[in-house]
């Protein structure tokens, strides 16, 4: 086992107490120290109360997961102490709200520092709202940030009610400094990196490729793509719109694409279900269509603010009929950026239908990311040049050139089976020919993918571990945590499934790691590669894998 090279901070409290903000500020603080950061928000489907926490971990090396065993735990209420009693390291510091927590509730063997937070916050009009500030303040004290640096931080991050904030922070800082001031030494890293979430990366990646319009109906955990693009759309040259339903969303996207606008939509499982009819329409009409499906535990409403990977087969088969489609899932936030751009470009190149499958754990986790912005693909469809236009003219690779209004030519997109001009047909030969044309696009897409990297391979040694999507991060971090050697194989593209890159594994007995109760990814591997996993490690309680715990499971499985 390698020396521990990570530091973990958890702040917990009721929703509405500024927990999320506290976690973000802590992360920003780490990032400003030029370190790598991974921040995971755990919150319930409610607006006030309950129990929320943020776990943010940092390292001098790239870090791909939060760690649940905290070095510093800040508990804004009694429930946070109870919830995280087991989540503190032996040498941890626990800063708690002594106005709420009973001493008897405190875990043994940690350095517990009580601060009368309620009392200290009484200056505020709504004291509950500002408890969160205790989080970054305690952190600042523990890592030896000076009082001045803290004041500056507060001025930057907690502008409203600044004076009261400073007073509150002072009280916390003093109490913590007294017992644990400078307890943890966190080295500076090499470079300051921006922090962003998976959803932000998807939004920006799509923008990079040339996104014009984004349609979405609010649904956790996809909503923040909408929020981000609504907020920054003006600057980015993107229109973000929230219609009456996901059905409207999907059909508007089809309409927008038919006039040449590069559209994208985003939702979670229930909303995606409602979009399938439009997906099929796009399939027949050959409308470029890209949908982001960010999963949460299902079926149905399920557990809205948590994570799961149980929409895989659902995402692979949306819409009735034979439809050329591309489905892919990013493993990291950086990859989310690249992939969103790549997929937007692909669906436009092939006038195909695409699903960018991800999960809450990637969508909403916030990390320091080193993205080469300019490496993003660019949409550039095949356009009709001149002469008579036929929307569905037969083409060797199935891709008929595009033409947009206004034009003197007749442009006929259609949901009916059709002839080359786009007129409805019920004639046997024409029906079969158009199926063939569309199927040729699938073949052409495969050829295209063969020229790209459709599978990531991480490390090379010993045991083969298959994983995909956000679980990739957990697996890589787990291996790092214990210094385990393995070959991690992560198919980024799931449809067409890149068997050509995976030949060598057919007949293998890999370990499979995924977050679904029925092992949907393992099933896909059985189907496509004929592999028989030696072990399928699943987790389906809504929480992402914890690297130390996963490492232990992996160690056992590797044997």
């Amino acid at each position: 086992m390698s020396e521990r090279d990570t530091f973990s901070f958890i702040v917990g409290g009721r929703a509405g107490a500024g927990v999320k903000k506290a976690g973000s500020v802590a992360s920003n603080l780490f990032a400003s120290m030029k370190r790598y950061v991974f921040q995971m928000d755990d919150y319930q489907s409610l607006i006030r109360g309950g129990h929320n926490f943020v776990a943010t971990s940092t390292s001098l090396r790239p870090i791909l997961s939060h760690y649940m065993r905290a070095d510093l735990l800040v508990a804004l209420d009694a429930r946070s102490v109870r919830a995280h009693r087991e989540d503190v390291r032996e040498d941890a510091v626990l800063v708690y709200n002594s106005d709420e927590v009973e001493e008897g509730d405190l875990p043994d063997g940690v350095d517990a520092i009580g601060v009368a937070m309620k009392e200290a916050a009484k200056e505020y009009p709504n004291p509950e709202l500002r408890l969160g500030l205790a989080g970054p303040t305690a952190l600042a004290a523990c890592i030896g940030l000076s009082r001045d640096d803290l004041a500056e931080l507060i001025e930057r991050e907690y502008k409203r009610d600044l004076e009261a904030n400073q007073a509150f922070a002072d009280a916390v800082y003093d109490a913590v400094s007294e017992k644990a001031g400078g307890r943890f030494e966190l080295e500076e890293g090499d470079e300051e990196r921006p922090m962003l979430t998976g959803n932000e990366a998807i939004a920006l990646g799509a923008c990079a490729a040339g996104l014009d319009v984004y349609f979405a109906y609010p649904m956790t955990p996809a909503s923040t793509i909408l929020h981000f693009l609504a907020k920054h759309g003006k600057k980015l040259g993107v229109t973000a719109m929230q219609p009456e339903s996901e059905i409207a969303v999907a059909n508007m996207a089809v309409g927008a694409a038919a006039v040449g606008a590069r559209a994208m939509v985003g939702t979670s499982g229930g909303g995606f279900a409602l979009m399938e009819e439009a997906f099929s329409l796009a399939g027949m009409a050959e409308v470029p269509f890209l949908g982001v499906l960010s999963s949460r535990p299902g079926p149905s409403t399920g557990v809205p603010t948590y994570t799961e990977q149980a929409d895989l087969h659902f995402a692979l088969h949306p819409g009735q009929g034979d439809i050329p489609r591309v489905v892919a899932s990013p493993g990291t936030v950086e990859e989310a950026y690249i992939l969103a751009a790549e997929m937007l470009a692909l669906v436009w190149e092939f006038q195909a239908q695409g699903v960018l499958l991800t999960e809450k754990h990637l969508s909403e986790s916030r990390v320091t990311a080193a993205i080469d912005l300019d490496s993003a693909a660019e949409v550039s469809p095949v356009m009709h040049e001149d002469g008579e236009y036929k929307r569905y003219v037969s083409a060797e690779n199935g891709v008929s050139p595009l033409l947009f209004p206004p034009s003197e030519e007749l442009i006929n997109w259609t949901s009916y089976e059709h002839d080359e001009s786009g007129f409805t047909t019920e004639e046997a030969g024409e029906i079969a020919a158009m199926h063939d044309k569309r199927n040729r696009k699938t073949e052409a897409m495969k050829e295209r993918l063969k020229g790209m990297r459709a599978v990531n391979r991480h490390g090379d040694g010993g045991q083969v571990i298959f994983t995909y999507g956000s679980t990739t991060m957990s697996v890589l971090e787990a291996l790092k945590a214990r210094g385990l050697e393995a070959t991690v194989v992560q198919p980024v593209y799931l449809k067409p499934f890149p068997v050509w890159e995976l030949d060598e594994y057919s007949g293998a007995n890999p370990i499979v790691v995924e977050q679904s109760s029925t092992g949907q990814f393992a099933t896909l591997l059985r189907y496509e590669l004929g592999v028989e996993p030696s072990k399928v490690i699943t987790k389906y309680d809504g929480r992402p894998f914890e690297p130390d715990d996963l490492a232990a499971e992996l160690e056992k499985a590797i044997g």
């Binding site: 921006p194 962003l196 920006l204 923008c207 990079a208 040339g210 014009d212 319009v213 349609f215 920054h232 003006k234 600057k235 980015l236 040259g237 229109t239 719109m241 219609p243 009456e244 339903s245 059905i247 409207a248 059909n251 508007m252 996207a253 089809v254 309409g255 927008a256 694409a257 038919a258 006039v259 040449g260 606008a261 559209a263 009819e277 439009a278 329409l281 009409a285 409308v287 993205i371 912005l373 300019d374 660019e378 008579e388 947009f404 209004p405 206004p406 034009s407 003197e408 030519e409 007749l410 442009i411 006929n412 997109w413 259609t414 949901s415 009916y416 786009g422 007129f423 409805t424």
Partner: protein
Amino acid sequence: MAREFITEVENTWCTGCGNFGIMNAMKKAVGILEDRDIPKSRIFMTAGIGCHAKIFDYMSLSGLYSIHGRAMATAEGMKLGNPGLRIVAFCGDGDALGEGIAHMMHAAKRNSDITVVMHDNGVYALTTGQRGPTSPRGFKGPSTPEGNNEDPWKPLVLMLEAGATFAARGYSGNVEQLAEIVAAAVEHQGFSFVQVLQPSVTFTNYFEEYNEIVTTLEEGPLEFDEALRLARQEEPLPAGVFYRKEKEPYEVSINRGRNPVEDRMRREKRMKAIGDTLGG
């Protein structure tokens, strides 16, 4: 390239179907619009699924033949994507008030700048004559052999209440007037709704009845209250422009005045904006 307005696709509407009148009116409307500086090339259409929707194949206008109930949403996407176009959605009563009523109501609410021409034959014709949202109580169709158990809606009432800024009724038996109405609807900037009384000779052959009770509304557009009162009236059934109001179209404000496809940023500028967003 000059093209005939009517394509060479085989027309399979029943002889005497009211849809012919609508198509003829549309042909004239396009002519009227050309005279008013709205070229045919800037008209982009969509349609639901049903007998009405076959108009898509029969007319030489560009567009996207959508799916049942969604033409309104398709149309909104088109307008939002390129606000420089005039969008016309041909819908059935089943389409627009059954499967797709959510889109109708909300398109009217947000004053999306599209024109909805609703072929109101009071029946799901193409699927062999089932009751629809405007079928009378007692209507016998294959899904209601003992008679429809619902009272019909009055489409103009709903659309006025939902927020339509242009609401009119036409009759497929009066092609000249219908052409003028549709042209005015397309010209109107904002959500335009045209209910067209369209008898289905096969299932709801109301031609005789309509010929008696359909009158011409000479004095329209009216004040909202008056328009609503008239929209409720069952006999006579006036045809004409009931209501019209100026109001900023949704696509102007949501796009902040830009045209997404025409004003697209060049890559360098986009990359810079992304960098800034990430940085800040």
